[in-house]
Amino acid sequence: MARFIVRRLVSVVPVLLLVAVFAFFLVHLTPGDPAAYMLGPLATPAQIDQLREALNLNVPLPIQFERWFLGALQGNLGESLFMSIPVPLAIWQRTEPTFLLTLMAVAIEVLIGVSAGVVAATRRNTWVDQLAIAFTSLGLSIPSFWLGLNLIFFFGVNLRVLPVAGYVPLGVSWIGAIRSLLMPACALGFISSALVARMTRASMLEVLSQDFVRTARAKGVAERGVIWRHALRNAILPVITVVGNSFAILLGGLVVTEQVFAIPGVGLLVIHAVLHRDYPVIQGVLLYIVTLYVFINVGMDIVYALVDPRIKFG
């Protein structure tokens, strides 16, 4: 297993190199200028040029790339042009709300999705099944910002039980942190639970028709045990893939949701970096997201083997 993990990790290196090259040129070739943004709309060309000089943006692109790339190889991703802090620190500062939000959203997604999927599969073709399917279609069709705004108006404005926006860091109050993330987590969790429910239902239906389930029932195992211990464990693999993917997507930044709820996470960092043309941050975040994806995929492979002993690392 150790060899497998090492091999997977080594294969990441060329991917990251490619992404680094892409990220750099993509953001530098996009029109727009961080100096112009920083100085505001009234800035004169001379003034912009002066600041570009100070920020080292007047250096030819290949040389900028060389500097950045050599730095990146040594773990130095540069400094944010606007926040004047190292890029990894900027990302790290935004990781807490995004990570916590992702955990909560995935927990809600699994809770709703798996339960709905199992219930629908075990009561196939009944009204319960129909209801579950209708519910999942709803989840797939509603945009997260719309659901988010409705939650804000209901729980934040009408009932006033939750804060409408913002984030309270864990270090200040963990209850505050959870309260501030509850609505966005519900919005995201509900929406991504739709896919999980569908996957669980399909996979459960397949497993429930297999011989070992009949055998388990014949042995006199209680129905609850048949479903939750025998069938679900066999049906869960594709669901893990879906959940793992949504984990990676969520961690990579929830641009829309973080914007609606004004949560200072990675998503908001990305969107501001793009709007301000904060090149080092855009590049850094792209690398971070790719690295996350790769590691989460490796992590999922390991989970497969733990859940299903038939899978061997090769």
Binding site: P31, G32, M38, P41, M83, G156, V157, A262, H272
Partner: protein, 538 residues
Amino acid sequence: MVDSKVPRRRLLRTGLFLGAGAALGGGWMTGPEKTAGLLPTAAAASMTPVKGGTLKVAQVGDPPTLDIMASTADVVTNDTQAIFEGFFALDANGNAQPVLATGAQWSNGNLTLTLPLRTNVLFHNGAQMTAADAAASFQRWLRLAPLGQSAASAVKEVSAPDSHTLVVQLSRPLGLLPVYLASANAMAAVMPRSILEKYGDKPVQEYIGTGPYMFKEWKPDAYLRLVRWDKYAPVRQAASGYAGQRIAYVDQVTIFPVPDVNTRLAGMKSGEYDLAFSVPPDQYAQAKATPTLRVAFLKPSEWFIFNLNKKGRMFTDLKMRQAFRKALDHRPIMEAAFGPQEFWSIASPTIGYLAYQDDKTGADVFNHQDIPGAKELLKQANYNGQPLVWLTTKNYDYMYKGALVAKSQLEAAGFKVDLQVMDWATLVQRRGQPDVYDVFQTGMGGAPAIPPAMDAFVVDKWPGWWSNPKKDEAMQKFEGSVSLADRKAAWSEVQRLFYEDAVAIKVGDFYDYFIMQNKVQGFTAVDFPPYWNIWLGS
């Protein structure tokens, strides 16, 4: 502030970034006077100022820097003008009133300006403000701020003959210098010399000023916190506009970047924020219908401009520019761009506000649609059907909607229009290239009194590139005169040339508004509403 307003106000943008009126000067009055008609009677209750509490502000986004001198972005001015102070500030009539200077003394045929400085002013680091700090700050302002740069060519020398006097020697008359120095936007803020030496012309990262609030903490995208500076020494004069006595009633001000406009409004309704910026007109009805909230209008605020590229391509020809003007009917454009009539006006051709309002000059051509006339001019100019490239953006809803309506009107007159939609950052870059476009649109604010000569369209280097020696002459008179009457006459001449040259199209004036909780008292409805003098009533 011209054009810079865009980032703040019409933001909705991301719901991102940053109004004419007959009531001249009305925009400078404080909330209660100005919005009397909109105030629920209960709000008039506690009018006695009280100290304490936290003012929570919902802002449209994070500032790119907290160095007030280094950026013209609205959000920077809004968030930091309580930390820093300059030599003067503008009062409700747009005149410069003392803040750190005690007055402005002209001598030597108006070529020497002496600024005596107050002696009891402490920086937030405890050090006393001296003329050395003031001189270093003044010099930096000449290098960094657009107004400073435009003043720089007239400034021969800045000296500090003693610890509390600053003397500015000019090479040509610049009667407007105190007004330049009073601008809140890209303010000539006095900062400690040691800090300026440390950061040079880069934005400073130690935010030490002399204002009623001091910088406490900034967590990007989360909040910016200011706290009362207990050793603040206010001037004695009564408060007016940005000028006069500044009192820090609330203990602290917390500014939250809330980029989504719906969330800003929701936070106002739920009571989480006390004051919100940049709520678009389509949310006005909701805000007005919420009994806990009240609204303050800023009239006049800005005017909508279609700026023509006079350096390259088709609009180098005056006839083409006149044809463009004759093709337009302003009412449907303003309706599409700004919605309810409460938010805009096409009543006046004026390109100046407050003391400089001129409702007559240009009235003969302002908003006179004449399609056959436009067609005739196109024929005379030998227009060959080359597409008119119009740069627009959806980052500011009004710009896109206005451009869309204008496009159909222009096509009816025979223009071919290529409307190119892009993000604001790209537009700002492209509008600097005279060979790639013909028109772009933006908002112009406060011209020319707040502060003067920030009207980008009169500067020949600004995109659009209006060059005319007569205009330069009028601008020289405008800037040089110490007398308001002379300046007023000079500005009317600029307005006459603006219409004669068909420099750009003033489509109409539009207004801004602010939403606050009823308990927020002492609010000043100006372009950059200050946080001082606000208290939280019951």
